[in-house]
Every structure is written in C-alpha cells, then in structure tokens.
C-alpha cells in the first residue's frame, strides 16, 4: 500500500512539475535558512563535556576592594595566592589551575624556524579533569610537578610543526628560552565551547604547549589574551610582587563527584574567605559562587545575542515558506478534485485518500529536506567565510542532519494537512457529473 502510494505521489509530482518544484524549493529554502542558523546556535549552546559537565565547577571569590562598584558579580578569575592556597585542599577529586600565555618555541632542529605559540601552564590534574585525549605518552606526574621538572605536553598541531607528526616523546624543545622534555602529545581536542578558558574566545582551537603550573613563579610568563584585573590601588614591583598582589587572572576548575563534596567545597571556600578576612583581605561581604559548566557558559553569555535574534527571524522565515507551501498544495489539490472524486466513487475511503495525500506531502518534504541540506551546507560555508574562528561552529553532525529531515517532513506534513483534509471532505457527485 505504501509503495503504491509512493508510486501515486510520483505520478502526481510528474503531472505538475512546476508546482511541485516550487513546493520543494519553498521548503528547501526555509529549511536551509533555519538549519544554517540552528547549526551555529546548537553548537554555541553545546555541552562541551556532557558526561561530567554537572560535576565540574569553577568558583569565584570576591576579593575586590571596598570601593563602590555596582557589579554584584565578583571577578571571574582567581588570584595567584588564593589559587595556591585552595590547591592545598583535598576535598575536590581534581583541581586544575591554568592560564594562557604566549612564548617563542624553538626546536633543536635548525631547519624549523622559531615561532610564537600559545603556552598553557596547568596543574597536573588539568589533563584528567578535562579528559584530554593523548596521542603519545601521558601527562606529567604530581612528583614531576612538585620537583619543578621542566616537562611539556604538546598539541597535535605543534607536534606536526616541530616533528612532522612522529612520536616525539623524550625529545626536547625550548620554550621561552628554557629546555623542556616532551612527555605527552595530545590528539585533536576541541571542546566546543572552550569552556575551561573563555577569555581567548569561546570558539577558538586549543593548541600549543602545556607546562607545569609549579614553574610559574620562575618563568615570568604574562597572561595573554584575557583579562588581568588588579583590585588594590597599590601594586608591588616585579613578577614576584604581581603574584602576591590582589590581581585576578587565573582559571580554576574543580571536580566534585558527590553532593557531599560540593557542600564541603562551598563550606571550605566560605571558611577560607573568613580566615583571610582576619588577615585583612577580602573587605567585601562574603560573595562566593560555584558554577557548573553549563551554568558558567550561561553566566558568561557564550551564545551570541545576534544568533538568538537570528533564530527568531529564521523561524518566522520558515513560517512564510510553510504558508507558501500550504497555498501551493491547496491549489494543486483543487485541480485534482476530479481524480479524487473518482477514487471516492469507486470505494476509496476518506482514510485511504488521507493516507495517500500525506505520503505525497512527505515525499515533497523529504525532497525539500534533501535540497535544504545541500543549501544549508552552502549557507554554512557562507557563514564560515563571514566570521573568523567559526570553523568549529559550522560543521553539521548526524544529529543536526536528523533534525533537518525531521523538520522538513514535519513542515510538509503540517503544510499538507489542510489541503488533504479539504479534499477528503469533497462530495464526489458534484465533480463526477460533467465528466
């Protein structure tokens, strides 16, 4: 029956090729515009680490000076001395403190010209907390970290540039004038959005070199591509002075597996701030906050407002295409009153006819979806060429392709509903008389 209906649909489409083409393209264009915007939107609002996003947290503690500042939210970042103090806690299962800097990287191979690269000092937990995939080797150990070993984990891209992509474990590279031994090479790793560090753009690639955070006091590598805010009016001299200043600049994430751990950590933060208050720091009222990954992305408004706006417009656009298709289907069905009447007179039930026309509508929808998918790729290529750094946001995955077809079939069924219902209501006798 289904195949027969498919056959009928094909015959009917062939009979009115222009009208059918118009219907297919109306749906296709509506779907293409919608899917282009939905794709970018979905990826902006993506959960970058779905299986543990509810147990990873970042916290803000408010060390601002008592001067009037209306913003109820404290600084986004952590100061070096607070990070150091909080790192000592064994409540979280894992703690990552990190920031991004830029340094000149030199290979021992003279043929590779020195170049600037992102360098990220991180605590050893960084890799396991964020589940970075390793291509070769592994992260450094806590012992390496404590004993100030100069070890480095490099990204796949960096490994390609420095060593042509071979297993480079054990080799040495020079980062900002010091030698580091390579202990690990990461595989491609592109959490979207790059939630653990939104400073340098939420949708940028993660690449470069990762070095132990314990080396920071010796290195004098300034943070780059993000904000450093100093809250006291007096600042101390030099790098060592900067590290003890009331300046917030570090990212700190913790993994708290259980509800109990989360409660304990909140309490620990409160106690820490109270204890520091006794030392004359933290002049403001207690204002500690804990954000899970998705809460943090929402708080930092990672989804671009322009895109929410566009999403609204895109759905209205799809609405126009839908009404358009209804109109076209309606006029098509009017031409077929004769045929339908014959079928009814020969014993076809309303249900059979309804089924037949809905199959036809979904064929139109499917064709529209397929064409829409192709057009959406063109749309995404267009978006990619318009925005810098949107490469990660303009790739459709299977889920989005499924949404495309689901949306187009749903649209065409909705569009087909009214014309089909109407044609099923026909009194056949009227249209049989004159033939």
């Amino acid at each position: 029956m289904f195949l027969y209906n498919l056959h009928l649909a094909w015959l009917s489409i062939k009979r009115t090729p222009v009208l059918s083409a118009l219907m297919v393209s109306a749906i296709a264009i509506g779907i293409a515009i919608c899917m282009t915007i939905i794709t970018v939107y979905k990826l902006m609002a993506n959960d970058p680490i779905p299986h543990k996003s509810n147990i990873i947290f970042t916290q803000t503690i408010d060390l601002r000076s008592a001067s009037p500042d209306d913003d109820p939210n404290g600084p986004d970042h952590m100061s070096y001395q607070d990070a150091q103090n909080l790192l000592k806690s064994d409540i979280p299962s894992k703690i990552s403190v990190h920031y991004q800097t830029v340094a000149v990287i030199k290979s021992e191979d003279e043929s590779v010209r020195p170049f600037r690269s992102r360098v990220r000092p991180v605590t050893a937990d960084f890799f396991s907390l964020f589940e970075t995939p390793f291509l070769f080797g592994n992260q450094w150990t806590a012992d390496d970290e404590d004993s100030l070993q100069q070890v480095v984990v490099i990204s796949r891209a960096l490994n390609l540039r420095l060593f042509g992509g071979i297993n480079s474990i054990g080799q040495q590279i020079q980062v900002a004038g010091r030698f580091y031994k390579i202990v690990g090479v990461l595989d491609d790793w592109t959490p979207t959005p790059r939630f653990f560090e939104l400073d340098g753009g939420a949708f940028s690639e993660t690449e470069g070199a990762f070095i132990p955070f314990s080396l920071v006091p010796a290195l004098e590598l300034r943070k780059s591509g993000g904000s450093t805010v100093c809250h006291a009016s007096e600042t101390k001299e030099g790098w060592q002075g900067f590290l003890t200043d009331e300046c917030t600049w570090l990212h700190m994430w913790v993994q708290l597996d259980t509800q109990e751990q989360q409660e304990q950590w909140k309490e620990h933060l409160d106690n820490y701030v109270k204890q520091q208050k006794e030392l004359g720091r933290f002049p403001r009222e207690l204002n500690n906050r804990l954000h899970s990954v998705m809460q943090w992305l929402e708080f930092k408004r990672v989804v671009n407002n322009d895109y929410i706006m566009l999403l609204g417009l895109a759905f209205m656009f799809l609405g126009v295409c839908l009404f358009n298709t209804v109109g076209l289907m309606l006029s098509q069905s009017l031409r077929r009153r004769g045929e339908v009447s014959v079928r009814r007179a020969l014993g076809g039930s309303k249900l059979t006819l309804f089924y037949q026309h809905m199959v036809e509508a979904s064929v139109i929808g499917l064709a529209g979806g397929a064409l829409g998918l192709v057009l959406a790729q063109a749309g995404l290529a267009g978006v990619r060429s318009l925005y810098r750094g949107f490469d990660l946001l303009t790739q459709m995955n299977w889920q989005l392709i499924a949404i495309t077809f689901g949306l187009s079939i749903l649209s065409s069924l909705l569009a087909g509903l009214l014309p089909t219902w109407r044609i099923c209501q026909l009194a056949p006798a009227q249209y049989l008389k004159t033939q």
Binding site: L19, I33, M316, S331
Partner: protein
C-alpha cells in the same frame, strides 16, 4: 468602487487569502526588523575612529631570546623605521588601536575619590606618538623626548604628566578647563598633571557591545611610556599611497637591524577595523540574504495563488466580460482583491513587528523600533503585492467573453 462584492467573494473563499495575509504579516515583521538591525550595524561601522586610519599600520616584533636592553632596542628600531622613505612617523604602542586587548584603569579629578565610573583606556606613546596617530594636540603641549620612560609590560604605575582625549577631559572637567589641572590615581595622593588635550581617539574596546563602555568610546589617556614584554607593538604612519610599499619593506629593515627576531601581524588599520566589525558585517549580509529570499518567496506565493484563482474563475470572468465589464475592470478586480488581502496581512504584521522588537528590547536591550521603518515596510509590501498580482490579472483580463456561452 466595487469593494463590497470583492470582499464578499474573499470571505466565501477565505483559506487562500488567509494564507497570503499570514505570509505578508510574517514578511513585514521579518523585513522591518531585519532592516532595522542592518541599519544599526551600518551606523556602528561608520563611527569615526579619530586616528588617520587610512595611512596607519601596526606590527608585532618578538625577540627569540631575552633582550639585554629593551629601551635601547626600542629606540634603535624606531630610528630605522622612521628612516624608511614614505614613513611620516612611528611609535611603540601598548596595543593596537581598537584591537580589543588593552589596559583599562580609572583616574579621578579629586583626591581620594575612587570611582570606577571614570574607567578609561590607557595607551602608551613616545614623543612622536601623536604625529604617528595623526591626532592634533588641541590644547597644551605634546610630551618631550625627556619625558618618555621605559616601563615593564605589567607595570601599572602612572606618570607625572599625562595627555587626555577631549571626551575624557570633558567627562572629568565638564566646565572644559581640564588643562593644567591635576588628576589622582587610586588611593595615591600624588597629583598627575594634565599637560595636553588631544583630539578624540577610539578606545581599545571600540568593537565591544557592552553597555558599560557604550558612552566611553573615546575615553583615553596617553602615558609617555614605551614598553616591551617578550614582544612589542609598533604603529607606523605613512604618507598617502606609500603604505603598501612600506609594509613590504619594514620586516626586512627590522630583521636586518636585529636578525634574532620574529616580525608578524603586519596589518593596516583598515584591515584591523574590518576584523573588529567582521561579525557586524556578517550579520548585515546574512540578514540581507534573508530579506531577498523572503521577498522572493512571498511574491511567488502571491503570483501562485492569483494564478490558481484566475484559472478557477475562468468561466466567471468570461461571464463578467460578456455582461459588459471592460478589461480594466477585470484587472482592477484582482488589484483591489490583493489590496484587501495585503492590508489584512499588514495589520497583523504591524503587531508582529512590534512584538518581535519588544522581545529584542526586553531580552537583549536592543533599541526600540521607531521612525519610518514600519510605514516604509507597509508601502513596500503593498507595492510588492500589486506588482506580483499584475501579471495574473492581465492574463485574466484576456479571457474571452465567449467562454460564457460554452458549457464547461
């Protein structure tokens, strides 16, 4: 003329008309809001930046190894750059103008009055800085070579003498007598003297959309500083027409002077500004595409429906013609019909348009829709409807009166 019968006919056959009206309504809402947003983006992109953007470019130099004397390094670099033919002037800067990353701080006019509302963008220039930027000193004087001091990159100390932009001077001293007055920094009691007031220059956050800085786009303070982290930014102004040539030559000149370095990010200021505005431009292009497609689809819908209604009423039209209606009467019938349908669509569309704008205003703090946008949209859609229906109407008018006498 004969509006009542046309209206009655419409009511009897309302589905098609309602579909068209709904399309018109949505089209009005989308087109008006999209044009409104596009115009805001265009206005944003046309804001003046103050500096001589057509003749300025910036570059970054990074030394491969640690430098011994950063101050003399910077001065030697400046000497060779300024000697390149076609260069008007050059200066080391803290960051690229309007490039985003920047130093932000707050000064205040009264001792001890710490106030973040006086947030300001700080840039570093040497004594040639204003010439390099293409900014005039409106009042007071420029920095002298003796005043220029080398500071570490993360040093946030303040100098003894500073120069402000006009906007910032007027913010601190609304009476307009800023020159020669003292400013204070943080809790520090040391006075900082305003020795000059420069023309407005767009701040580092020029590309940002944050309401915090919306009215501080030209608030800037210049320090007589030069600085070097593991890299430095240079800003170079050339004579008109000489920019490309100098941009090609500058890396060689710098590497020849000091080979152990990397020179990159050589970008004209216009290129940099186009990056700042990339997302505004992108949105404008996306919205324009949407508008064109939408108008196309809606017109096709009107044509399609009119065509089918012409073929449906074939006999009826013939009968009217046989009874004495002129061709013009047939055409005007369809035009009036379309006018009625479009008007209903537009009435619904106006509500939808303001509804969508209300959502933007409340959710995203966008400006309120006002002025001529809605009336223009209404006129556009009325014209569009008439244009789209004209061809089918012409076809209808050519139906022969003889049709009336035939059986179907």
């Amino acid at each position: 003329m004969e509006i009542q019968p046309i209206f009655n006919a419409l009511v009897r056959n309302r589905t098609g008309a309602m579909l068209i009206a709904l399309q018109i309504a949505l089209t009005l809402a989308v087109v008006v809001n999209a044009v409104f947003i596009i115009n805001q983006k265009l206005a944003r992109m046309e804001r003046p930046v103050g500096i001589d953007k057509d003749n300025i470019f910036t570059l970054r130099t990074t030394s491969i190894d640690e430098l011994e004397n950063r101050e003399t390094f910077l001065q030697a670099d400046m000497d060779v750059i300024r000697a390149i033919p076609g260069v008007i002037s050059a200066t080391p800067v803290l960051t690229t103008p309007q490039g985003g990353g920047t130093r932000v701080d707050g000064y205040h006019a009264e001792q001890g009055g710490y106030d973040f509302a006086q947030l300001v963008n700080i840039n570093y220039v040497d004594h040639m800085g204003f010439e390099a930027l293409g900014l005039k000193i409106v009042e007071g004087r420029n920095f002298t070579p003796q005043e220029i001091r080398y500071v570490a990159r993360n040093d946030d100390s303040v100098p003894e003498n500073i120069i402000l932009t006009e906007d910032y001077a007027n913010r601190l001293f609304p009476e307009g007598d800023a020159l020669g007055k003292n400013l204070y920094y943080g809790d520090n009691d040391r006075p900082i003297k305003i020795i000059g007031i420069a023309e407005n220059m767009a701040a580092g956050w020029f590309g940002a959309n944050s309401p915090v800085v919306a009215d501080k786009m030209y608030d800037m303070v210049f320090h007589p500083y030069i600085t070097y982290g593991n890299s430095a930014w240079y800003l170079i102004r050339t004579e008109p027409g000489a920019q490309n040539e100098v941009m090609l030559k500058v890396e060689d000149v710098l590497v020849e002077r000091f080979p152990e370095r990397l020179v990159d990010n050589i970008r004209s200021q216009n290129d940099l500004l186009s990056r700042v505005y990339a997302s505004d431009k992108a949105l404008a292009i996306i919205l324009s595409t949407v508008i064109v497609l939408l108008i196309g689809i809606t017109s096709l819908g009107v044509v399609g429906l009119a065509n089918s209604s012409v073929s449906q009423r074939h006999k009826q039209i013939g009968t009217r013609r046989a009874l004495g209606a002129q061709k013009a009467d047939v055409i005007s019938y369809f035009l009036i019909e379309n006018f009625i349908v479009t008007t209903f669509g537009i009435i619904a569309g106006i509500f939808l348009t303001y509804g969508f704008n209300y959502w933007l205003v409340t959710e995203f703090a966008q400006p309120k829709l006002e002025g001529y946008y809605v009336p223009l949209g209404v006129i556009l859609l009325l014209l569009l409807g008439q244009l789209a229906v004209f061809m089918p109407a012409l076809k209808a008018s050519s139906i022969s009166p003889a049709v009336a006498t035939r059986s179907i």
